[in-house]
């Protein structure tokens, strides 16, 4: 309960930064912070393995990918981004606020029914592995195929179109 009360405000603050900051690199780094805090929250909730996987995949791969592509594509000017946000901010708020209200409404109607059980459900790694490779084996295989395809596809997409190098002219 205490980790939950500490972590959720931190997660939300980092997420606000990621959604609002004008500097793209700051937004990406705050996303990394937010996602690693979500990983900590998973650990605090007892899903240790999921928390660590979240940490290594999101911080180690996704956040790195995002900052890297921010560097390759020149990030647009901060002031320009601020001006643009004036134009797009209000409609975006107009769409997301009703959604938030709706989600909150449904949740409060439902969550009163849910009594929080005191005992923590056990998550043994052995059981997780066994379920993963028996009941969920087709899903694991599908995931493996998907990830391989993605790796090859992304490599092909991101390839520089081949050009013959120009021989340097001697001067």
């Amino acid at each position: 309960m205490i980790p939950l009360l500490i972590l959720t405000p931190a997660i939300l603050l980092a997420a606000i930064g990621a959604a609002w900051k004008a500097r793209p690199v700051h937004a990406a780094l705050l996303l990394a912070l937010c996602l690693s805090l979500v990983g900590c929250l998973y650990v605090a909730m007892g899903a240790h393995f999921i928390g660590l996987v979240q940490f290594s995949v999101y911080v180690g791969a996704v956040a790195i990918l995002i900052v890297f592509s921010l560097l390759i594509t020149r990030p647009s000017d901060d002031d320009e981004e601020k001006v643009r946000r004036m134009k797009t901010g209000m409609p975006a708020l107009a769409c997301s606020l009703p959604l938030l209200v709706m989600l909150g409404f449904t949740m409060f109607k439902q969550s009163a029914l849910l009594e929080a059980p005191a005992d923590e459900p056990a998550m043994s790694l052995k059981v997780l592995g066994e379920i993963l490779f028996t009941d969920y084996a087709p899903a694991v295989l599908a995931m493996a195929v998907l990830l391989t395809a993605v790796m090859i596809g992304a490599a092909l997409f991101a390839r520089e179109p081949s050009k013959k190098p120009e021989p340097p002219s001697d001067s």
Partner: protein, 411 residues
């Protein structure tokens, strides 16, 4: 309130228990003061963490001297020999110099991230050192998910390098950070895949259990470490090469190649922040070597049964010294590779071999289960040898761009 109650035991004085003696003593003293139980265990945790950090900071100071001495020996010069006897006080002198230097923050830098960069580099190395089993009874934090924790924490280093490079607000740090990140991401794959082979064989992610699974001796003298099996040899060599790249050591130290990009992501740092980068780098080197020893070299197991009387942590640190010396030796001997060679090597050579060590490990497992050692060797040896030979030949002949390189201006 439960009062802590810890009895003094003579067993704490055994050599095997020496590294944990401070923790026991602090717990005993705190309990003697009549403090509650939770305070006793917190004091114990802090002491045990302090022991690990203290030992490795001491080793860091020692290594910074030994490295310079070894390099000097290889390069036929004296090395540091002014401060103290044989330059033994050189680390102290370096420390004082670093502490008293001015801390410069460039005008274009993002000061908060500029400060966070070096801090974020040191933290994961120290966290990773916490889960390593140093001795039979000396595991600072025995985690069930030790190996996953090690790699998850290691992911933080990449972000830290990026933060340091980007926040400096100039070209060389940025280039250095981009090089460092692409190198770390590429070499993390073979590192994790080769560690996966060990996990497959021992069936656990807990590092102490992995060490225990390597106990025992074949024919009474050959230790059953993972390195002494065909799949383990292949995976171990891949792991070692990937280690060198992850720790940014020569010949893979392109991110800080002095002749190309000044000092990479550390260019705009001075004073103690610069020292923090070095501390982080060396602690990372210790951590990843310790992991390699745990996975492939039998951790704290002694190499011969007759040496069992020595405390187990002594064997761990002896192995650490040997591995670190090989790192130094390689640094002194090999020239730095080029960035395209580096990436090519990771993706075309290391990853296929690392992937092949997984089926090899599976064959070994099933042949061993049928109690058929000879069949296991015969079945797995070609699987290990052929790819190594083929890839070495291919890499030297066809794929290496060095053969097609033309020197336009230096002919």
């Amino acid at each position: 309130m439960m009062l802590g109650n810890v009895e003094f035991e003579m067993a704490w004085l055994a050599p095997e228990q020496w590294p944990r003696l401070p923790q026991h003593l602090v717990e005993w003293l705190v309990a003697l003061c009549g403090l509650p139980e939770w305070l006793v265990s917190i004091a114990g945790w802090f002491t045990s963490a302090g022991v690990v950090v203290g030992v490795f900071m001491g080793l860091f100071a020692l290594l910074s001297l030994i490295e310079r001495k070894t390099l000097a020996r290889v390069q036929n010069r004296y090395g540091p020999n002014r401060a103290g006897w044989f330059g033994i006080l050189q680390p102290v002198a370096d420390g004082i110099k670093m502490l008293t230097k001015e801390d410069i923050v460039p005008a274009k830098a993002d000061w908060l991230l500029h400060l966070l960069g070096p801090v974020l580099i040191v933290i994961p190395s120290i966290l990773a050192l916490g889960v390593i089993p140093y001795g039979q009874d000396w595991v600072p934090v025995p985690l069930e998910l030790g190996l996953v924790f090690f790699f998850a924490v290691g992911a933080m280093t990449e972000i830290a390098v990026f933060v340091a490079g980007w926040a400096s607000g100039s070209k060389f740090p940025m280039l250095g950070a981009m090089r460092a990140i692409s190198q770390m991401v590429s070499y993390e794959l073979p590192l994790i895949i080769s560690a996966l082979a060990v996990v497959m064989m021992s069936g656990t992610l807990s590092l102490p259990e992995i060490v225990e699974s390597q106990g025992g001796y074949t024919l009474g003298f050959l230790p059953q470490w993972n390195l002494f099996t065909p799949w383990g040899l292949s995976a171990g060599v891949v792991f070692f090469i990937a280690c060198i790249a992850e720790a940014n050591r020569c010949p893979f130290d392109l991110p800080e190649g002095e002749s190309e990009i000044v000092a990479g992501h550390m260019t705009e740092y001075s004073g103690f922040k610069y020292a923090l980068f070095f501390i982080g780098e060396y602690l990372g080197l210790f951590a990843i070597s310790a992991l390699g020893i745990t996975l492939f070299l039998g951790g704290w197991q002694s190499p011969l049964p007759i040496f069992d009387f020595l405390p187990s942590w002594l064997w761990f640190f002896a192995k650490l010294a040997v591995v670190i010396f090989i790192f130094l030796w390689i640094r002194a001997t090999f020239p730095r590779v080029r960035i395209d060679q580096l990436m090519r090597f990771a993706w075309l050579c290391l990853i296929p071999i690392a992937l092949l060590s997984l089926p090899t490990a599976a064959i070994w497992h099933y042949a061993n289960k049928a109690n058929n050692d000879i069949v296991a060797w015969i079945a797995t040896m070609p699987l290990v040898l052929i790819p190594w030979v083929v890839l070495t030949v291919l890499f030297n002949r066809r794929l290496s761009p060095a053969t097609t390189r033309t020197y336009h201006f230096a002919e």
